[in-house]
């Protein structure tokens, strides 16, 4: 009888507080044995890795292999976050796990942050310059409202969502790091107009697309050709554009972007 509206589970989980004594999170994780950690890894691979990466390196969801997690400063907060999800985001409640299993995942996520923090060797200030000039990144992206592009994702918080190694890989080979749900489409209308862009929305009858010129909406019956290239990205690879030190600088700049303030 399970259906897909996950947010409803948050309400159900709140109701559980009156029944399940384990629902009220203790400050310390009560399930921290090596067996718990192993089980937590298995659960993480099953339930979390699809969005956060097998090692918490980040993908569709933020990267977790760091000592401090912005939304979960301690074990109890992390436990509650996994249990309840984050309303208004793609992070669902961990409804499919019993409280013990939520603690086991909490322990595993914490263990990811105990690995040595990734070193980012470049100079962020120089990277900011490269972003604006040689990279011409603002043609497609915005940072804190600056830059003319809306074709690519907003990068204001990219440093909290992606690890430096992920950002480096995305700059070198963008098509290996295309986010879930991002689909490039190629359209030819019956009048011969051709558009390659990012799909904004689609239904049985219509499709909405954004390219560098703006937003377009089509009835599918008016198209001569419509195909999706889900693994493709309109972002160019920067392997031949930047030198290695420049790439370090740009990665350092992107990794430093942690929000509006």
């Amino acid at each position: 009888m399970i259906r897909t509206i996950l947010f409803a589970w948050v309400g159900a989980a709140v109701a559980l507080a009156q029944i399940d004594p384990e629902y009220v999170a203790p400050k310390q994780n009560p399930h921290t044995s090596p067996a718990d950690l192993k089980r937590g890894e298995q659960l993480f691979l099953g339930h979390c890795a699809g969005c956060h990466g097998p090692k918490g390196e980040g993908a569709r969801g933020p990267y977790l292999a760091r000592p401090k997690l912005r939304r979960a400063p301690d074990d109890a907060a992390l436990f509650e976050l996994i249990r309840d999800g984050i309303p208004g985001t793609e992070m669902p409640a961990g409804w499919a796990m019993i409280m013990k299993e939520v603690w086991q995942v909490t322990g595993y996520v914490r263990s990811l942050g105990r690995t040595a923090e990734e070193k980012v060797p470049g100079d962020a200030a120089r990277g900011a310059g490269l972003y604006r000039t040689k990279g011409n990144c603002s043609q497609c992206h915005t940072v804190r409202g600056q830059g003319g592009g809306t074709f690519g994702p907003d990068l204001t918080e990219i440093g909290t969502r992606r690890s430096a190694s992920y950002l480096r890989a995305a700059l070198l080979e963008p098509e290996k790091t295309v986010p879930e749900g991002f689909v490039q489409v190629h359209i030819v209308t019956k009048e011969g107009k051709t558009i390659t862009g990012v799909r904004l929305n689609e239904d049985t009858f219509t499709v909405q697309v954004r390219d560098l010129n703006g937003v377009h909406s089509f009835e599918k019956r008016d198209l001569k050709d419509f195909h999706k290239d889900p693994g493709k990205s309109p972002m160019p690879g920067y392997r031949t554009i930047f030198t290695a030190p420049e790439l370090d600088d740009l990665v350092a700049y992107l990794a430093s972007l942690r929000g509006a303030s």
């Binding site: 009888m1 399970i2 309400g11 109701a15 029944i19 099953g46």
Partner: protein, 525 residues
Amino acid sequence: MKRMVLLIGWAATAVGQVSYDRIRRADSEPGNWLTYSGNYSSHRFSKLDQIDTTNVKRLKPAWVYQIQAREKTQSTPLVADGVMYLSEPAGEVTALDTRTGRTLWNYRRTMPKGTRGCCSQVNRGVALLDDTVYVGTFDAHLVALDAKSGVVRWDTTVADHNLGHSITVAPLAVKDKIVVGIAGGEYGVRGFVDAYHAKTGQRAWRFWTVPVAGEKGVETWAGESWKHGAATTWVTGAFDPDQNLVFWGTGNPGPDWNGEVRKGDNLYSDCLLALDADTGKMKWYFQFTPHDVHDWDSTEVPVLVDGVVRGEKRKLVLFANRNTFYYVLDRQSGQFLAGKQFAKQTWAKGLDDAGRPIRLPNTSPTVEGTKVYPSVPGGTNWFSPSYSPVANLFYVAARDEGGIYHMGEAEYKPGAQFNAGGFRSIPGEEPAGAIRALRPFTGELAWEFKLFSPPWAGVMSTAGGLVFGGTNEGDFLALDAATGKILWRFQTGSQVKANPISYLSGGKQQVAIASSNALFVFELE
């Protein structure tokens, strides 16, 4: 002034007595929609033909009613003599004038603190009998309301909501009783089908869907796993007056995704039950998915049709199951006659001669996750199929979607979820769906209309040669019932997750469908 207008409207609207005999002969008065699936055979077919393949392009909204509850609705309204009875989430009811869409009365209900359920506080509809409206509530009550005023006549506790019981199903009025099922399969409750005396609210009978120690069928549960066996009954069944049998589907065994703790076939989970309408005694059962480990409830709508199968004229029950197989059963005996896959699946080689699925290896949930088609919502789900006696086709909204299934620990705590695992979508895949027309006696595909994503809306066919359906992206649409060609569509602005109906208002055919928090009513301009 407004009150006066409403009073005038009310006076002009005759509230009739919806007798059992009228419901039994619902096919003879297509101007009304008297029971959940249109008739006791669950055809969800309208004999009205004012709107047809030639003029459906002129279909326009007549009015829209905004549902007051925060939750989205899955409700099928009923219509009797110019009044629409619409259930709203959690078990509230509104009566509407079908000409204007204006409210005649409301029944409002506050849920007690701590009410829980797996999948939001939905309600799928009401039952009508004589001058009373019957609704199940999310806190597991059955309530009888005066059809003229909405005043409560009686309010019966069906089960304890603190343990996870809830009622989301539209009740079925059968003779002098109200048949109702229960939800709560994700909480390890024990399922049942109940019948209540329509006049008093006293329980007439209960059929438990999971046997206890000493009863036949308990041997299909390892150890004491039957204690939290679920098999809930949350979708409205059908009724055959000639045989005096109620047909009702049952849900998944509990816990959902860890079959290790409940080895065996787990009767009567994932079954179609044939129950005596007077006593609740089971005449036969057919189990679609023995030892289900994927949460593929058989809580779909059974469709009763007579026809020639295997060279013999038979009384049949047709069933498009969440496990992706379409079944043709003899409804007098429960004998399996034919079956065919109608949606994408990777878990079974097919069905054997008795209709039992031939499972493929390595398809059970694991801790790390097992990729299987269909997904947890299945090849279809609670939303209704339709049978057109004119086209002689069975229509089903089909889902072609897979999922990754996880097994977890099974730990029962009263009132807490008892899933023992979970599921997620397959990364990088865009699942699709279709409205499919099947040959009713074989399940062979006659045509399909492809949908962008796996649907959650039921279908209705009409004598006007149309099939109405809906999409997740908000389209309410009409197809040619013979060919599947798209003839009309309307963008409602939100997911269509309900069943359509059709009836007459002031002599004019209307078609109604709920979409998110609104009910749209259409007629020819």
